[in-house]
Amino acid sequence: MSRITIPEESELLELNLGPQHPSTHGVFRMIATLDGETIVKLKPVLGYMHRNHEKIAEEMSYIASFPYTDRLDYLCSMSNNLGLAIAIEQLAGLEASERGEYIRVIMAELTRLVNHTAVTGFLLNDMGAFGTPLLYAFREREKILDLFEAASGSRMMCNYIRPGGVRADLPEGWLDQAKAIVKAFPKFLDEFEGLLSENEIIRQRTLNVGVLPQELAINASITGPMLRATGVDYDIRKVDNYSIYDRFKYRVPMGQVGDVYDRYYVRILEMRESVSILQQALDDINDASPYISPKGKAIAKAPRTFKPPKGETYGRIESPKGELGYHLVSDGSNKPYKYHVRAPSFINLTILEDMCLGHKVADAIVILGSVDIVLGEVDR
């Protein structure tokens, strides 16, 4: 995208949005240079929430990192767990039990619903709605969080998925509860869409705002709904077929323009696909196999004795925000020699300036909201 040319006579205003600002999703900071209300330069400033996750993880056992991954993207702790579990499985050559795989897929897709509803609500809050879409989203999200609580013991910081399967079996009646919630979910989506999709004000605010060209998106290694909104068919669930995703029938929705509206709508469509995956998985799951493989159980019981063979691996999943990858290097001891997180929020944020240039301040906020960042993951 071409840079904006600034007229000679105009005086620029530098506006500091954040780190304490109602809609920078935490402690993100943007230094925007304005010509009138138009953004001519935008500099993101990161690192206000840096917690040294990667270095800390190198100082402790593989399993002890799981609770910390919950806190990366705190809206979808289940998929963060899953990413690390898959990376560790690759590193140590473990296999997950079948029931474990099913539970993981169910949890990962529920997490997608949680994340996409929440982010759409926050996007609308950034647009200036007085919380109504957000609270409708939260209303549904709570029901899914109740499911997480029943299975893992915690609503947000689940710490549930382990290499080889999951930490604990599903409690009795959980599947029926989940089926009921999943069955009712499309009705909520219809209501949500009725409130938003055709609303003229929202369309006015989002159509052709923050357009991300396909080429730039690919070059900047953008992933997730943001990439698919530009029309690229790239979903790691399809590409890698990790876990047992090849057993389910689902489609990958794609947009055409790559603006804020497309990003919003691709998420809505993705939720509908997730519901279909969930229905299949909830029907197919059986208790023929244990929830965790015996090897995995042994690891979870005594984390410090787990010493994967020397080597390195990169395990990745399609987290709700994009490609979530864990790069692990093992030197044969019980601690990872190197541990790195490829955080989708962080990488998707890199092209913020390109999307914002030439738009108004109000649009910058909306564009930031549509990128779907969680500062815990950006700064790690």
Partner: protein, 224 residues
């Protein structure tokens, strides 16, 4: 049509508004509309949300019969595995540095969990070989300071197995099933040891008299 989307959104919010009243719910049903979600929040201090049985908050130590009879043997595995390092354990030892035993087990003299650091991850419970630490579901632990107020000591952490059975019946049953064979074994071993000790004690009868006061002293120290 232009303007219709705006009106539809307004219709949805109005329906939810009406649906929060009893009359409204009845009215919506009467005209054949979906009756909305109603009030979904609870007025917290008066009404408390029901939590799942699995709900976890902070860990606590389990004892069986009396607080003296705690399951913890101060093996320090949880202290090592705890990701944020919030557990501090010292084993009860005599002057010579040898661990003292009660009920045939070593036990912690000090067992502190700094709950302001604890992140409720449940790894300590997973790794404990003795099922001595479990997750509580009491979440109302707010206090006016974060020093000693948030540092829960052993006496504050000790709760009975009965309490555990009350808050988490399923998990309690599992733990009991796991512990039962161990207990039987320990009982047998204790009986054998007692028999052996009784035999050993016979030749020198004045020795126990020396040990008794020191035992009593250490008990008092714990209770305070």
């Amino acid at each position: 049509m232009t303007g219709f989307g705006v009106l539809r959104g307004m219709g949805i919010t109005l329906r939810q508004f009406i649906g929060t009243y009893r009359f409204g719910k009845w009215f919506l049903k009467l005209i054949g509309l979906d009756e909305g979600s109603g009030i979904t929040t609870v007025a917290y201090p008066e009404v408390k949300q029901k939590h799942a049985e699995n709900f976890r908050y902070f860990p606590f130590l389990v004892y069986d019969e009396s607080p003296e009879d705690m399951r913890c043997v101060a093996c320090k595995i949880c202290e090592q595995e705890c990701p944020p390092q919030c557990i501090h354990i010292t084993m009860e030892k005599d002057e010579k540095g040898a661990p003292t035993k009660k009920f045939g087990r070593t036990y912690p003299a000090q067992f502190d969990i700094d709950v302001s650091i604890c992140m409720s991850c449940r790894i300590c419970v997973d790794v404990c070989p003795f099922d001595a630490i479990e997750m509580d579901n009491d979440y109302e632990v707010a206090d006016y300071g974060r020093g000693p107020e948030m540092n829960f000591n052993r006496d504050k952490l000790l709760k009975s197995a009965e309490y555990f059975g009350k808050i988490k019946p399923t998990e309690h049953a599992e733990v009991e099933a796991r512990l039962e064979p161990k207990r039987a074994k320990a009982k047998a071993a204790a009986a054998a040891a007692a028999a052996k000790a009784a035999e050993a004690a016979k030749p020198a009868e004045d020795k126990p008299a020396d040990e008794d006061p020191s035992d009593a002293g250490s008990d008092k120290g714990d209770a305070s």
